[in-house]
Amino acid sequence: MFPFSFEWLWDAGHLVFHGGLWYALNIIGIGMTYCIVKAIIDTSKGKGGHDHH
């Protein structure tokens, strides 16, 4: 649920629950984005694939 949803209330319950959810999702999302982007950059530089033939 987002703050712009009609059910949203600016109370402690919604802030804590959804704050925790979005905090975790952000860490997961940012972490994976970092890994994927860095892998693309590394690959474009010719790194990796020690078994690559």
Binding site: M32, K38, A39, D42, K47, H52
Partner: protein, 434 residues
């Protein structure tokens, strides 16, 4: 046939044997899938749940597999946060077992809610006063974390690793795995706890109700603690079973000993806390709500005092003593007995906190109501077991799950022609460090 996919330096069974095993377990899986489809298409009337048992076998299975899957988050916490580096030799398997347990839990929930297409409602129309909302949030997020921890292991497959992008992606994920592991521990603390909290806040059911700290009943902390204590037991037990099935030593004794020792002390401290909780509940909390201990354990033989003894004595005190005592812990027979008792103990605890709670009479006119699952419930509960075995079989065959396997099982120069194996020189496998 598939030797190019098998990790270097290890031997696997012939393809026909592998396919035969998959076929047998696959038949069980198909039976479970059939029952699952019945539940989805015909509805929850396929179950024996009723007004007394809104929570039944599925919820017990959910709570049990989530507790048993706790080995993943706790091993990750020990390795990445507390620096127990030896655990890198078993953490891949802990992650795989955790992945199986949590995906099974989500699958069971998808059946249990009756209309899985509305599963997203709990996120969008969240009831922020419900502990189960917190469970749903944390469970889903933690499953994402487990998937992230499992992906690098898949990318270490011999053929996938040759693709530079996959190699780099796996490498990068290893580098920041501590962040994911810490997030996983954070999420696990809350969803394991909230599963206990669900029972503990039932003030209308004295069998389950507990006081606590702020909004959290003591069961919140006991569930988290027990998952951290018994989850590693399940990891070690499945490792032992895998070693017996494959007839190989897969993990060195010092690694097993370390994890068993930590699990032992965790069980020991948990059992003390559980005894204190039980004493307070029996003498103060329940009498304060108008019921006595005898009310909970003398109404039916199925829920007699034996179940309390089995849970805390056989499933708590005994495995704790065995695992914290070095001579007993180092003895493989005693260690496996302790692991088995631990797994039984935590499963029984979850059973009691779900099903005995429902069975216990609350009103003076109430009677003990027992519950028998329908075959559809049984089949859908066995379904994750079959799925887990299949995933372990495939992962073990094609992925470097056990980094010490090649060293512990060197391949002879002249491998028999009938055995399909990767016969390239044994090399130390890189642990996925997931």
């Amino acid at each position: 046939m598939d030797s190019a996919l098998i990790p270097k330096g290890v031997k696997r069974c012939p393809m026909w044997q592998f396919l035969l095993g998959l076929g047998i377990v696959g038949a069980v899986l198909a039976w479970g899938v059939y029952a699952m489809l019945l539940c989805w298409f015909k509805g929850l009337n396929q179950t024996n749940m009723n007004d007394y048992y809104g929570f039944a076998l599925w919820i017990w299975a959910d709570l049990a597999v989530i507790a048993l899957g706790g080995g993943a988050f706790f091993s990750g916490l020990l390795k990445y946060i507390f620096g127990k580096d030896e655990l890198k030799h078993i953490i891949n398997y802990a992650v795989l077992i955790g992945f199986i347990c949590y995906s099974s839990a989500l699958l069971i929930l998808a059946i249990d809610i009756g209309q899985p297409l509305r599963g997203w409602f709990i996120f969008w129309h969240a009831n922020v006063h419900s502990m189960l909302t917190e469970v749903a949030f944390c469970l889903s997020c933690y499953f994402s974390v487990l998937t992230i921890e499992y992906i690098p292991l898949i990318l270490e497959n011999r053929q996938l690793d040759k693709v530079p992008f996959f190699h780099n992606l796996g490498h990068n994920m290893h580098e920041i795995m501590a962040v994911f592991a810490a997030t996983g521990a954070f999420l696990s603390f809350f969803h394991q706890g909230s599963l206990g909290g669900v029972a503990g806040v039932l003030f209308g059911r004295p069998f389950a109700f507990r006081e606590g700290l702020l909004i959290w009943p003591w069961t919140f902390f006991l569930f988290t603690w027990s998952a951290a204590a018994y989850g590693p037991c399940f990891t070690l037990l499945i490792t032992w079973i895998t070693e017996k099935v494959t007839r190989k030593k897969l993990v060195k004794d010092n690694v097993v000993d370390l994890l068993a020792k930590i699990a032992g002390w965790m069980i020991f401290t948990y059992t003390i806390a559980k005894l204190c909780d039980t004493a307070r509940w029996a003498n103060i909390t329940a009498p304060g709500l108008g019921q006595t201990l005898a009310d909970f354990y003398t109404g039916t033989a199925f829920y007699g005092y034996w179940i309390l003894f089995a849970e805390i004595g056989l499933g708590g005190i005994l495995p704790a003593i065995i695992l914290i005592s070095p001579p007993l812990r180092k003895n493989p027979t005693w260690r496996v007995i302790a692991l088995f008792l631990g797994v039984m103990g935590v499963s029984l605890n979850r059973w009691v906190m779900v099903l005995q709670v429902m069975a216990t009479p609350v009103m003076p006119f109430d009677q003990w109501v027992l519950y028998y699952p329908s075959w559809q419930e049984v089949a859908t509960t066995i379904l994750p077991l079959a799925y887990g075995i299949i995933l372990i079989m495939i992962s073990y065959r094609y992925l470097p799950i056990f980094p010490q396997e090649a060293e512990l099982n060197p391949i002879e120069e002249e491998a028999p022609a009938s055995v399909e194996a990767a016969t390239e020189p044994a090399a130390e496998l890189e642990p996925a460090q997931a």
